[in-house]
């Protein structure tokens, strides 16, 4: 019996002392936790570099969030609503920023910091980092979609996207004439909203007329010529089987696989496809001739008289309002977004910089021959509607514009307007 008591005391003592020892190890510079979206290790490396540069002012430790943007948002929103003080820095997908900024989950950016981190930043990224006329996050990297095409297919169809912008109508006809598949994202996910938004914006419209209004006053702009033009394109691609049978479940990766295959023709997709295809060639999974056959151009136009508005994505840095080290976190954010770190991130992980000066580095042009097109695309890009109710709008669109073959210009824009409005008013489930 006595032996057992002693064992119990030992266990209790160890249980008490081990956490204390861990606390003792915590002393030193404040430890900032940076919640990052999964990548190829670039953010962890930048965290290390900034910790080294800080000279003992702070240390940064990364913590990885779930894979897709929607789950990242879910986790961060729930933690912030519970006033989690362990969130110092976070990598945020721009559409979800208003939702976190509106209830005050993001620490306000001091004016001097805001001024420094806005310099030389592309317009699309600044728009995405702003809510209520104030910069609420620090622009980090900015993403946009390009039109990728197989030169052989385009040539056979008599199209040259490199010299003059092409329209959706042209690429649809060209790929059909060559019996190939278009690669677009028709799966019921965020990528479908990205596509719809780019089409509506390119046609000169907007999904939301007044994105900053409260939920019951939001006005949708889908029931318009622009909305109908977008529905016409998506519906035709779906009904005429222009994208193949995979379309209703096709995401960005599936698009890339189809594009690299025998029936690839034209694809709208993020720049990650370039390093991914190059890696495929190095592994021997893809022929070098496929890589040589790939061309790129600006996102296709809806209307030949109007410049396209390509999708805008990327990641901005937010500082948690409940963090114990807000000042250090802003210092760390400024370090993370330095142009040389953005250049490093672009070259290593394929994520384009939001800072225009980063595009001038020689290693960028070597790794991404299309860097100039990306920069131009970012200047033209249109963000998705910036509203605290973005999730309702996006899910509502996915509910009514899926599968693509069911989309028609006469019905879908009207139907989705009514549906999303009812959901926003709390009259209907999603």
């Amino acid at each position: 019996m006595r032996r057992r008591t002693r064992a119990l005391v030992m266990v209790a003592a160890v249980g008490l002392l081990v956490p204390l020892a861990a606390c003792a190890a915590e002393s030193g510079p404040p430890l900032l936790t940076w919640y990052i979206n999964p990548d190829d290790g670039g953010q962890a490396e930048i965290a290390k570099r900034c910790t080294d540069d800080a000279g003992g002012e702070y240390r940064i430790e990364v913590s990885v969030l779930p894979r897709d943007a929607a789950s990242q948002r879910e986790q961060l929103a729930r933690r912030l609503a519970a006033k989690d003080s362990s969130i110092d820095l976070m990598s945020l997908d721009p559409p979800f920023i208003p939702e976190l900024a509106e209830p005050g989950f993001l620490a306000p950016i001091p004016d001097d910091v805001a001024e420094r981190v806005s310099q030389d930043v592309v317009q699309g990224a600044l728009d995405g980092a702003t809510w209520g006329d104030k910069l609420v996050t620090v622009p980090f990297w900015a993403n946009t979609q390009l039109l990728w095409y197989r030169k052989s297919v385009a040539q056979a169809a008599g199209l040259d996207p490199a010299t003059a912008p092409v329209t959706w109508q042209q690429i649809m006809e060209a790929s059909a004439s060559q019996d190939k598949y278009l690669s677009v994202q028709g799966t019921k996910a965020e990528s479908l909203t990205v596509w719809i938004n780019a089409l509506v914006e390119s046609a000169g419209g907007q999904i939301l007329e007044n994105p900053e209004a409260p939920a019951d006053e939001l006005q949708l702009g889908l029931d318009s010529d622009a909305g109908r033009a977008a529905a016409e394109i998506i519906g035709t691609i779906g009904r005429d089987n222009l994208a193949g049978p995979a379309l209703p479940t096709e995401d960005e990766n599936a698009s890339m696989t189809i594009f690299q295959g025998d029936r690839g023709s034209f694809m709208v997709n993020w720049p990650f496809v370039w390093p991914a295809t190059k890696a495929g060639v190095e592994d021997g999974a893809i022929e070098q001739s496929v890589l040589d056959d790939i061309g790129w151009a600006l996102y296709p136009q809806v209307d030949e008289a109007q410049e396209s508005r390509p999708p805008y994505g990327g990641i901005n840095l937010g500082v948690g309002a409940y963090s114990r080290y807000v000042d250090q976190a802003f210092a760390a954010a400024e370090c993370i977004v330095q142009p040389e770190n953005q250049t490093f991130y672009f070259v290593e992980n394929g994520n384009p910089p939001s800072n225009t000066t980063s595009y001038d580095a020689p290693e960028v042009l070597e790794a991404f021959p299309m860097a100039d097109v990306i920069r131009q695309s970012l200047e033209q890009a249109a963000p998705r509607p910036q509203t605290p109710y973005y999730n309702e709008v996006s899910s509502g669109l996915q509910e009514t514009w899926h599968p693509p073959s069911s989309v028609s210009p006469e019905v879908t824009p009207q139907e989705s307007t009514a549906f999303i409005t009812a959901v926003l008013h709390g009259d209907q489930l999603l």
């Binding site: 609503a81 479940t249 605290p388 899910s395 709390g426």
Partner: protein
């Protein structure tokens, strides 16, 4: 199993004897009861903390208009959330899909599970261990993992099903299983059946083991055929085990989430109730509306329980061989 006692001479004598047995048993029963509480007590307290508290909290939250990212707009609205849910076609569609999945999976699993249980029961001793392990493998796999495995097998880009089975009419290179309701629900149901049939067959195996072999042998000697013995001897004697298996599986199937979440995430009309609750409270952060859905889902599960116990007279104690 009932104890067979010699028939007592008179009704009075039988009464006295019965009372004596009852008194004797109740001493023992009391001690057993006490031991039961000692053993199950801690688990019971933990269960109260992790299930009762969230249920009460969800019931309370369901009476509010409450969005996690707009905490200042929280307002009491009574049963309005339930009104929104119950008058919405989305809820009834999800309800229908959930019932469909429950009915089909339970029915198919019952037949398959019984066959597997018979095989395990009859297998010669040297094979028995191997057989049970083999049959249990799917059940040992985490549901999310098995859902991914099935998803990638049937996926139009990475899957092998289309190329292996293109000789089957209706299956071709161009079949996108997850693009329309019929094929998507087929894969979801098939994966669910593959995954949980072992569970039902284990419960049925326990029931089979309880059927006294003398009865079977006696029937055989009397010239009963295999089918007659199955119908008249085996099945009636394991009714309790069958009903428990059906009830447990039905409750499980009704709460299906992982397979649908991974494979279609509710597209092509495959949204089930758990997914709807998840999407509302976790995805949209609408705590009030989501809680109302969760409470309704809970009530549906309770309804299945009561229905099974009252209607089909499931005797949970019977499965332990106490009746």
């Amino acid at each position: 199993m009932t104890t067979q006692a010699a028939p007592p001479a008179t009704p009075e004598a039988r009464d006295v004897k019965a009372r004596r047995i009852k008194a004797l048993q109740s001493d023992r029963a009391r001690a057993e009861n006490r031991l039961g509480w000692y053993l199950a007590g801690p688990a019971f307290v933990v269960m109260l903390a992790v299930t009762l508290y969230p249920i009460l909290q969800a019931t309370y939250d369901s009476l509010f208009r409450y969005r996690l990212t707009a905490p200042d707009d929280k307002a009491f609205i009574g049963l309005a959330n339930y009104g929104v849910v119950l008058t919405d076609a989305v809820w009834w569609q999800a309800f229908g899909v959930t019932v469909l999945i429950t009915v089909i999976t339970v029915a198919v699993e019952l037949v398959l599970g019984f066959a597997l249980a018979l095989v395990m029961h009859r297998a010669i001793k040297s094979l028995r261990g191997l057989l049970r392990t083999a049959i249990l493998v799917p059940y040992g796999i985490i549901t999310v993992v098995s859902a991914f495995a099935w998803f990638y097998a049937f996926d139009i880009n990475s899957g092998y099903v289309n190329t292996w089975f293109d000789w089957v009419p209706g299956i071709s290179e161009d079949l996108n299983w997850f693009a329309q309701f019929g094929t998507a629900i087929f894969v979801i149901i098939a994966s669910e059946i593959w995954k949980t049939t072992p569970f039902i067959s284990l419960l049925l195996l326990a029931g089979l083991a309880q059927v006294p072999s003398e009865l079977d042998e006696a029937a055989e000697v009397d010239g009963a055929t295999w089918a007659q013995r199955l119908k008249r001897v085996t099945l009636p004697n394991m009714k309790a085990a069958i009903m428990v298996a059906v009830l447990f599986r039905a409750l499980d199937a009704f709460r299906i989430f992982d397979n649908v979440f991974i494979m279609t995430n509710g597209s092509a009309g495959t949204t089930v109730l758990s997914l709807l609750a998840y999407r509302t409270s976790i995805g949209r952060l609408e705590i009030g509306l989501g809680s109302a859905i969760s409470v309704l889902l809970f009530l549906a599960v309770i309804g299945i329980c009561i229905g099974a116990i009252k209607l089909f007279k499931v005797d949970l104690a019977g499965a332990r061989g106490e009746s």
